[in-house]
């Protein structure tokens, strides 16, 4: 068995560094790693799974670019230690589409031109998908409040809110949530 080893870019790790076996279901596929205690879920996804759709913005929990859906909950993967979430099921932006068919929120972002540079977009979409699952957003104001953990420095907020509202209506009409 060839278990990939997740090494940190922090330093040259001495041989006595603790390595912890972890496993995840990432976008429907099982993965096993050995990680150092301090590896974030974000670095695991980006550097070791090569799922670079999840972005590192602030690495500080303030921008939401690193948002992924972990055990059904949207979280900041930059503030999550991988080992703490051992065993979790993770959905990233790469796991939302069904083959060539985009997730309704992805399609709505295209339809509404809900991005400019696109860097925050994977986090915005993952956050919106999970928010709609949570079921607390009933109005545009709710969407603005409950999407406040995702910043967009281009200021595409107007179209982001429109896209999410549109996708929510689609879900109401029986489309895939």
């Amino acid at each position: 068995m060839n278990t990939p080893t997740a090494e940190t870019a922090l330093d040259v790790a001495p041989s006595d560094v603790q390595r912890l076996p972890v496993s995840f279901d990432i976008n429907g596929r099982k993965h096993q790693f050995e990680v150092e205690a301090w590896i974030s879920l974000l670095d695991l996804l980006r550097e070791h799974c090569h799922l670079s759709g999840t972005k590192k913005g602030c690495d500080h929990g303030q921008c939401g670019a690193c948002t992924a859906i972990v055990d059904g909950q949207r979280i900041n993967t930059c503030l999550a230690l991988a080992v703490v979430h051992d065993g979790a099921s993770i959905t990233t932006i790469e796991g939302l589409a069904k083959g060539e068919e985009l997730h309704p929120v992805q399609q709505a972002f295209i339809d509404h031109d809900a991005f400019q540079c696109g860097y925050c977009t994977p986090g915005q979409i993952c956050s919106a998908v999970a928010m709609l699952e949570e079921g607390h957003a009933k109005t545009a104001d709710d969407v603005r409040e409950l999407m406040s953990g995702n910043l967009c420095r281009c200021g595409a907020y107007t179209n982001i809110v429109a896209a999410i509202l549109d996708a929510a209506d689609l879900a109401d009409k029986g489309a895939r949530p």
Binding site: W38, H60, G61, A80, L81, S127, D142
Partner: protein, 334 residues
């Protein structure tokens, strides 16, 4: 950033033992503050003790008619819990006024109590800070202090406690259940956090190797008359300049009981039970509330950047009373 090792606990006594084995150990639940502080070179844990598998995720009624919230209940789970939303809407609103949904989804109730100030100097390891490195000084006194304390500060530290949830817990007269090597105890919320004095590096009265097990709410939840007012620099996802958690019992226009805690103004959620007692039996009107606010802020001291918060606090208190009296104000997006 330092390296650290990891230990996973499945039982409370095991977690305390794992923590006790290293003086620089840190418990981790949601980790949203600890990981950030570690990355910023402010926290230097040598061992991180993962308590997420401990059985502390229940929300259950107490024999006294209150509610006990396990320390590992997430902020989201608490805010959207049907019993909390119905009986303690002040708590639910305060929680939802804090952080972002992503953070609330992992941040724990116990961890919320232990989060550290967001004072810019505390967070910047390149500056002096009595809280981070005792004895080095406090640049905030004459520096960037817009977010800082106007009540209960000292010449050693003017940082504020950043939590919204704790402001509501203070107003509700919650208690904190803790356990440690020397047994378990119940700490009144007002005794949990400390004022800075000359030991600003100590935020709480939690003892070495003690672990928060639960937060308990008394029976009275002020579901009918309450308000959480938060004033901040942007509409959402910002720390409070000033916040007010208020629970009122009214008999018509007569104040039977008022419990009022302030956030963003001190090193701990700020209560003044004498000022509250002076409200009992009085008619609720603008004059009564203004007098209460003036008394509460009698010893407030502003500095260059934050003096505006004294009047802002008085006005936020007035607004809270107006909202609580109506009892139907929904503050969803402020």
């Amino acid at each position: 950033m330092n390296r650290f090792s990891y230990a996973r606990a499945s039982e409370v006594p095991q977690a305390i033992e794992q923590h006790r084995a290293n003086a620089a150990a840190a418990f981790i639940a949601g980790g949203t503050n600890l990981v950030d502080l570690w990355r910023e070179n402010v926290a230097h844990p040598e061992v991180v003790v993962d308590i997420n598998r401990l059985p502390l995720k229940q929300i259950e009624p107490t024999a006294a008619g209150g509610l006990k919230i396990g320390a590992l209940v997430t902020n989201s789970a608490a805010a959207y819990d049907a019993t909390i939303a119905a009986r303690y809407p002040l708590l639910a609103k305060a929680i939802l006024a804090g952080a972002s949904p992503q953070i609330r989804n992992v941040a724990s109730v116990g961890g919320n109590l232990l989060q550290r100030t967001r004072c810019v100097y505390f967070y910047d390891a390149g500056t002096r800070c009595n809280k981070r490195e005792p004895g080095t000084g406090c640049p905030a006194l004459e520096g960037v202090n817009r977010m800082h304390a106007i009540l209960g500060a000292s010449e050693h530290c003017i940082a504020v406690h950043p939590s919204d949830m704790c402001v509501a817990l203070a107003a509700l007269d919650a208690t904190v259940h803790v356990t440690g090597p020397d047994g378990s105890r119940i700490v009144p919320f007002s005794d949990f956090h400390r004022l800075p004095g000359d030991t600003p590096h100590i935020d709480t009265n939690l003892r070495a190797d003690e672990l928060i097990i639960a937060v308990e709410l008394p029976k009275q939840g002020f579901a009918e008359h309450h308000a959480y007012v938060k004033v901040r620099d942007r509409a959402s996802y910002a720390f409070a300049l000033v916040s007010v958690a208020l629970g009122l019992e009214l008999d018509g226009d007569i104040i039977v009981n008022a419990q009022c805690a302030l956030g963003g103004v001190a090193h701990k959620p700020w209560r003044d039970v004498d000022a509250e007692a002076s409200l009992r039996g009085k008619t609720l009107n603008a004059d009564t509330v203004r007098e209460f606010a003036t008394g509460l802020l009698r010893e407030a001291r502003g500095r260059r950047g934050n003096a505006f918060k004294i009047e802002l606090t008085a006005r936020a208190i007035e607004r809270a009373f107006v909202m609580a009296r109506q009892g139907s104000f929904e503050e969803s997006a402020s």
